[in-house]
């Protein structure tokens, strides 16, 4: 055994009494080894005497509440479905997206209708309609496993597009988002491209330049083979919800950044330039973005 290992094992307290006695004799016979041993023992003792840190009651409570919410423990009958299929994982990702599209459609509809009616009653009615429609949409999608092709969602997405065109002309970047939404909505979610080792800045630049350039950049760097399998997408409802607080969002790709599986979302805020966000699919945390 080397001198270093001897000292480490002596300090670890894992030697038998005989081994410990022999080790101490060896240390005592060598002043340099003795000095090293004393130095290491003092340092280890300092660390071992440190009190164990604990969370405060508030921190503990917040942690539990946040985990319960993110794991959907209070509303799901079974917190973890054993071996979910790729398809169902993907569908769960799509549920909030289609729900948000539905919400946006109703909000836009209300904005278009209200100026004509212009009474307090109509305001209340419109607000009630927004709430009930969003709840119905979310509930339907939850029951249906977040199916992206429910008739209601398709109708509402169409309403969104039509209403938006009336309100304001779309920019090149918005065209990109609309195009992506249409492609994603029309095709199977499994057609979302996977970009290994994505250069998010490069992709973001292309995104800002418009739909064609973005599509070209995606085609150039995307891998067509089995994108969902390679990205292991998990549920990140809260993360996508944060991004969509005042913005419309859409999944544009799955990808890897430095070996970490991510999902790339396009975000179009109500004010400011659109950008891309990459969320770690395991933790749902933002890993990178092209946010201005």
């Amino acid at each position: 055994m080397s001198d270093h290992d001897l000292i480490t094992e002596l300090i670890s307290g894992q030697l038998s009494p005989e081994e410990r006695r022999a080790a101490l004799m060896r240390v005592a016979a060598d002043p340099e080894l003795q000095s090293e041993y004393e130095t290491q023992l003092t340092t280890a003792s300092l660390l071992r005497d440190a009190p164990a840190p604990t969370m405060t009651a508030t921190e503990r409570s917040n942690l539990h509440a946040s985990l319960r919410q993110q794991l959907h423990l209070d509303d799901a009958p079974a917190p973890v479905a054993p071996a979910p299929s790729r398809w169902s994982r993907w569908q769960r990702w799509w549920a909030p997206i289609t729900g948000l599209a539905a919400a946006a459609a109703v909000v836009v509809g209300a904005v278009v209708i209200l100026p004509d009616s212009g009474t307090d009653d109509s305001l209340q009615f419109a607000a009630a309609e927004v709430t009930s429609t969003v709840q119905a949409s979310s509930s339907d999608e939850a029951d249906m496993g977040g199916s992206a092709d429910s008739a209601g969602s398709i109708e509402e997405e169409q309403t969104t597009t039509a209403a938006s065109e009336e309100l304001a002309p779309t920019t090149a970047a918005e065209d990109g988002i609309t195009g992506t939404l249409e492609a994603a909505g029309a095709a199977s979610p499994q057609s979302i491209p996977h970009v290994p080792d994505v250069d998010l800045d490069q992709l973001g630049l292309a995104y800002a330049r418009g739909a064609d350039e973005f599509a070209n950049e995606l085609n150039k760097s995307a891998e067509s083979a089995d994108p969902v399998e390679s990205s292991e997408v998990n549920v990140c409802l809260d993360a996508s919800g944060d991004a969509a607080g005042d913005a419309s969002i859409s999944i544009v790709a799955t990808a890897t950044i430095e070996g970490v599986d991510v999902v790339v979302l396009s975000v179009t805020p109500t004010t400011g330039d659109p950008y891309l966000v990459a969320l770690d699919v395991t933790t749902c945390r933002e890993l990178a973005s092209t946010r201005p």
Binding site: S2, P31, L47, P53, Q70
Partner: protein
């Protein structure tokens, strides 16, 4: 198998079957230790809380992948260390100036820091000066009281690597702390 280990496995099975109460029991059993590891590794209370949350999110989301050949705690603490490495890498990337971590020690005069880490400021500063890999060995063995074998399992490295990291980490800490024993001048290097 220890009683704790057997209980953890039973709780994980119950959780996978949809028993939400088992979540609370698993949290109660392990949250302080996970938080302790994260706090020692991250050296920032808010970031340690974030890391702790990520650890448990990962563990509960991937509970169906837990293989019962290893103790649940070993898996949990491995996820903890890896999550901290991940957060430290991200923190490093986010810094506007590329300052090496060992040149950016915590401010020992900060009372917030004292409250946050509950370590002597000089020890905290010394810990900040060693690499995350060395720090992980010290955190698991010296601060969390794990055995050398347990630390090797958790870090997924040979036990010899743990011994080597521990030895070198303690030596660096002693030098940082001015804690060298009399007669300690030129440490003997081994191949």
């Amino acid at each position: 198998m220890t009683a704790r280990s057997a209980e953890d496995r039973a709780l994980i099975r119950r959780y996978l079957e949809g028993d939400v109460e088992s979540f609370d029991e698993l949290m109660r059993a392990h949250e302080d230790r996970v938080f302790g590891i994260c706090l020692r590794m991250m050296r920032d209370r808010d970031q340690a809380l974030d890391a702790t949350q990520d650890v448990f999110l990962t563990v509960f989301r991937k509970a169906d992948r837990y293989e019962e050949r290893a103790a649940f705690s070993t898996w949990l603490y491995r996820v903890s260390i890896n999550t901290c490495y991940d957060h430290l890498r991200r923190r490093q990337r986010k810094r506007t100036e590329a300052i090496p971590e060992h040149l950016d020690p915590a401010d020992p005069s900060s009372s917030d820091l004292l409250n946050a880490v509950e370590l002597r400021p000089d020890i905290e500063t010394a810990l900040a000066g060693i690499s995350p890999e060395f720090r992980a060995a010290v955190v698991l063995v010296d601060l969390e009281g794990m055995s050398l074998d347990g630390a090797a399992d958790t870090l997924d490295v040979p036990v010899g690597t743990v011994k080597s990291r521990l030895f070198r980490a303690r030596r660096q800490l002693a030098q940082e702390l001015g804690n060298l024993a009399p007669g300690y001048e030129h440490p003997r290097e081994e191949p």
